[in-house]
């Protein structure tokens, strides 16, 4: 499927996003296709599992940035919530639902990207 078409479910404002990339569709596309290799999600999971809250914050923060740049607004928001919670010192049970949210959004993005034409 055409890029923007495929990404519509996960990109709230396609125009804004493209504008960020100076209208350079090819550049955007390149990075979109790179996104699945981004390790921050799994790193986040590991950090949480290991109780490395500082690391978790860092990975969540980075994930947020990437997502935001690429227009994955909901994913970005979910990651942002995790960062905020971690900064508040929340852990364990309070954190779980937020992490779940990130996980879901992340899965959504990956699906959408998979549907894009290479």
């Amino acid at each position: 499927m055409e890029l923007m078409e495929a990404l519509r479910p996960v990109v709230a404002d396609g125009e804004q996003t493209l504008r960020r990339f100076m209208g350079n569709r090819a550049l955007y596309q390149k990075f979109v296709h790179k996104f699945p290799q981004d390790e921050n999600m799994s790193l986040l999971e590991e950090a949480v599992a290991a109780g490395d809250w500082a690391g978790a914050e860092r990975f969540a923060h980075t994930l947020k940035g990437v997502a935001a740049n690429l227009g994955f607004s909901e994913l970005a928001q979910a990651a942002s919530d995790v960062v905020a919670a971690l900064r508040r010192g929340e852990e364990g049970a309070a954190l779980s639902p937020l992490l779940e949210g990130v996980r879901d959004r992340h899965r959504d993005v990956l699906s959408a990207v998979a549907r894009c034409d290479p």
Binding site: R20, L27, H61, G65, A68, N69
Partner: protein, 710 residues
Amino acid sequence: MQAPCRDTLLIVDDSELNRAILREIFYREYRIEEAENGRLALEVVARQKDRLAALLLDLVMPELDGFGVLEELARQGLLESIPVFLITAETSADIALQGYENGVMDVISKPITDPSIVRKRVGNAVELFRGRNQLAQLVEEQVQTIKAQSEKLRTTNASIIDMLSSVIEFRSGESGQHVRRIRQATRMLLQLLATEYPAYRLGAEEIEMVASAAAMHDIGKILIPDYILNKPGRLTAEEFEEMKNHTVYGCDILESIPFFQEQELFRYCYDICRHHHERWDGLGYPDGLAGSDIPLWAQVVSLADVYDALVSQRVYKKPYPHPVAVEMIRSGECGVFNPLLLGLFLRCADELYQALYLQDGEGKTHYTPPIGLRRSASYHPPEAQQLSDRTLALLERERQKYHWLSEMSGEILFDYDRQNDSVEFTEKYQEVFGDSLRILHASDHIHRAGQIFPEDLRRIERELQALTPENALYRTEVQLTVLGGQRVWFELYMRSLWEGENDRLCTGYMGKLSSIDEFKRESARWRQQAMHDYLTGLYNRQALETRVNAAVCDPARQPFSLLFVDLDNFKAVNDTGGHLAGDRLLREIAAKLPQKLRATDMVARVGGDEFAVFLEGMERKGLLAKKAGEICRFFGEELGHPSPGISASVGCVRYPADGKDYKALLQRADRALYTAKSRGKNQFALYAGEMEGEPYRPPLLFSTENELPL
């Protein structure tokens, strides 16, 4: 120097995506450099700091974060020339504030919503900084220019200082050595001081500055009138007061030099100028400072100056030998000095003398005699005239003896030094002419002083050229104007002095001026007497001949006439009344006859009873006849005496009509006279050509049969 072109943007972010997005925004306008952490960013900065137009900086990065980078940039002072933008996802105001406080230009939040705005913001800042950098460049250039000008001014001022110092030297007639010596001596003393007393913290640069400033100490003398500055005798109280002012005048001059007061050198120059005559005990001038109130540098120059004055020739004094000068300073008779400085001086005095006042350093001196016997510093006597101190002292004694002998003679003696163009007189000269005893620039002075007429001076100068070592004496008479204005005759007697290879160089003259006025007046009187008849006081034959010859030789060829008057029957007077009666008659004639004549005419007694009358300008026969007739009547009728039949016979001749010279005129006058006598006496006869044929006895030219009373 061209400012490097700032064309590069440095993007610092650990996220490749972020870097790509930013690159995409700016790559068209800027060259892009990237760094993924703070450390690498600083490496780029180090290499390219002059090319960077701006820095886009992420905060959270491994190794060195954004604030770390900012801190380093601030430390290197780069934040003034490179605008830094913080690109951060943090929305809190705290971060932004911290960013601004750390020197960022602006904070841009990510994700970027509007790239074109970001571009504009960065572009504006780059523009701003470019302007600011150019301005800084301009200011830097201006500063450099001003520095260069200031340096030039400083050098110019130094030259002005040197020049002024030289002018002073020349004006006060001292040798060019004085300033150089003071400078060197100051330097030497200060160097010794710095070595012995490190507590004063005198650096080499400071010493140099003080030594330069020392050259200025007497510039105020430029405002002291010549007659005080060069007065050879003692100064009066007022003159001394004025002289003291040279300290303050010097400060005035220094203050008037533009931009000088800002320089460090000025302080030294000012202090030295003003205070080099202060005394340690407070009795100096102009401010009466005492002890360590006197700036140290002024004290040093003061000491150097005193020493130099003692061992050098000056207008008002002769030099003292070195050991004498040192002793005078030690004993305090030349002023009171800082004991510490005095001690230092005494230690290095010999070395000072050696280095500065001798022509060679072998411990022997070139004798530098005072002005009377002196030759200039540039002239070296043949074969080293190197003398030991003892010989020096002997010579000094001889010089003094010579000086006193010449003074005691009571004559005007002089000694002229050709190379210095200076002359020295004994005291009698001042008494007679009212002029100074030591004169510098003598040639010029003699021309201007008005004592000798220019023609006389030229004549003497010309005649002096002819002198040689073999023919060295010169004598002449000349009229000079003395004190009071009278013209007096002097005999100038002098000898030229020779030195150099084969003695061919005339180095001067020594001689005597004697008044011969009395003598000249005597001889004038005698010459006068030689021209007059003793009995009657009339002119004599000699005078007549002189007068006639003068008129004949005069190119104007003025005519004149001569009357020869021979008394008739004079013998009878002597016979009847005795010789005294004859004398009385002659004297009566001498008294009254001139009254019949004009002032330009001349009456002479040319024989016992013979007279001649010289009539200037007379040539017409008619007038001549009239005059001759008057004279006959005078002798025949007006001479009131009881003597029988005194009358005169007169023979008249005219020049040039009747003769071209004295002898011819005399012959023809004689003829005419004879004619008058033979016609019956008591009459006159004008010479006429026909008389030549007649026999006659010429009484005038040859012996006369009348007695000639003396």
